[in-house]
Symmetry: C2
Subunit: 344 residues, 2 copies
């Protein structure tokens, strides 16, 4: 049976035999080495094309001790921020003719540590990552870095690792969001966040508190509620209970999936947004503008952050390394005001 089994793979040996030159000549010709004459180069390139030669990446990586591959390590993917960030990353990876391995930690430290241990093998030339929210012990990250693998953090950075970081101004945008609610006459603003506390959520909480304090409002721990970090009905019930007891007139939801949670909780409680309660959410969902009512959002520059992170990594990778730890870039988020925080 003439089935599709891995057949007649053409490699450098094949080309060498066909052209009656050495394997080294093939290799050098294809890499456009100065060692090889123009005419020979042309002949090699031509027959390589003719025979559909494609270099074996594993042989090449083994020998060169570099893989033309990076890892993208993120908590989750079904999230507008991360999928848009990947788009940004991909735009650079593609341009650099690199390859991207994708790893989801599901926000678990254990998985993250395990993945990092694997990456220790030399599988990738660099890592772009958003750390898991419950990662406290950072030894796995330090270990990988010590092996010489460059890491660039984006969004959920790890402050204790000296390397490039692409962040957005979480503190400030939470501050602005809270200010906005205060200006809309909210007196009792709750922050709906998630447990585990990645540092960005910490920053958002602090921005929120700063805005309150500035207005002479003493932040109350009862106004901060921590949900599970996934979209679940339990969160809705939990939030309803919070609203019932604390009776906030404004809510800041710190992560994307809490938008739906908040809206559904309000709907079930027959609370009108924005009349009874005003809502702002950190989200990149394009549907924000067609929600009921349109949702005021803190929009993160996801694509740009991914792109910038990748750019930095490749700048470090190609040519001489740069001083990664000095790159600490903050791209601004944007408060997009819509009907959920007032009459438009």
């Amino acid at each position: 049976m003439t089935d599709g089994t891995k057949n007649n793979k053409v490699n450098m040996k094949t080309l060498a035999k066909v052209l009656n030159v050495s394997i080294a000549t093939i290799s050098k010709a294809l890499r456009d080495s100065h060692d090889i004459g123009d005419e020979t180069k042309q002949r090699v390139i031509e027959t390589a094309r003719l025979l559909h030669y494609v270099p074996n990446p594993y042989a090449s990586s083994l020998r060169k001790r570099s893989s033309n591959t990076i890892a993208i390590v993120i908590p989750e993917i079904a999230d507008s921020f991360f999928s848009q960030a990947i788009n940004g990353i991909e735009s650079i990876v593609d341009q650099e003719k690199y390859h991207a391995l994708i790893y989801l930690t599901h926000d678990s430290y254990e998985r993250e540590a395990q993945m990092f241990n694997d990456l220790t093998s030399g599988r990738v030339d660099g890592v772009l990552m958003s750390v898991a929210s419950n990662t406290k012990d950072i030894k796995h990250i330090q270990d990988l870095q010590q092996m010489g693998v460059p890491i660039v953090f984006f969004d959920r950075v790890c402050e204790d690792i000296p390397t490039a970081k692409i962040k957005t101004d979480d503190f400030n945008s939470a501050y602005m969001a809270t200010r906005h609610l205060l200006e809309q006459d909210c007196k009792n603003i709750s922050l709906v966040t998630i447990e585990g506390y990645p540092s960005i959520l910490q920053a958002r909480e602090e921005g929120y508190k700063k805005a309150l304090t500035e207005q002479g409002i003493k932040p109350n721990d009862n106004n901060v509620i921590s949900c599970a970090n996934k979209y679940t009905h339990d969160n809705i019930a939990f939030l309803k209970q919070h609203i019932d007891t604390v009776k906030p007139d404004g809510i800041i939801a710190t992560v994307e999936h809490l938008a739906t949670t908040t809206y559904l909780a309000c709907e079930e409680m027959k609370l009108n947004i924005p009349d009874d309660i005003k809502v702002v959410c950190f989200t990149n969902q394009i549907t924000a503008s067609i929600l009921n009512p349109p949702l005021t959002t803190v929009l993160q520059p996801a694509y740009e952050m991914g792109r910038k992170a990748a750019e930095l990594l490749f700048r470090h990778l190609s040519g001489r390394p740069i001083q990664m730890e000095r790159e600490n870039i903050i791209l601004p988020s944007k408060l997009v005001v819509r009907a959920s925080t007032g009459t438009v």
Copy 2:
């Protein structure tokens, strides 16, 4: 300077030296070969752990001619369907201790063909893919398959390639969606779709037409409008013009980003959904239920499709290959009725 340069990498040679055995013994011990005594195995495993030995994947892949890696080739990623599908895929990839390379075609045949040409190198053991909408020439796919690389299609399948396919019932769900609109008394239903026509959109169009025909309504080409396949303001203008001239009382939007387009077009034209015009959209966005008004959707089993596709691929990969071309799985989509198609 004691900086983090690729240092003291511990490999099998190191272990062999430390334990005073041959490299072969190390290799066999770690793979739990029958050739090695239990005591030696333990010693090897122990020191490997102690010295943080992690096998070099490139050496291993080169020698074994298999990579423990698959490719995920999809048109785009900032789309709920695809990101949820990736979640499903990842659940299996992780379990099988495989690695996943991600490639975005941006719906371009040229990119897709180029990627497939690269994959010819043996970089991956298998491919999970959703084909680009403008892919007509399928030689690149055939070539890869002929090299012995198994391919599983999901969602946007290529019917002419004999291999496993995971689809959803596009024809039927479009039929059901149209029926639903008809039952809600729509008389003039438009289909808003995209140019390029992947086969699934073809199926959706046919389901739509079937439902109309059944009700004695002759499908009119004027009722089918093709937008650009990305979220753009031009699409909104284009759709507004369509609504203005054709005056549909029902709209079926065949891809996710057209939901926002449709809602915004209606809003700008001061058309009330569902009173003036009813809307159904194929989308997996969780915000559908909190839109203004909540959107009736055709919800695809994205996670399950990704998972199933990966399962099939790995069933083929591990153990004896299966008859891939006989696997043609159809997972049902679900029509979730909400306020956008009537009074709830």
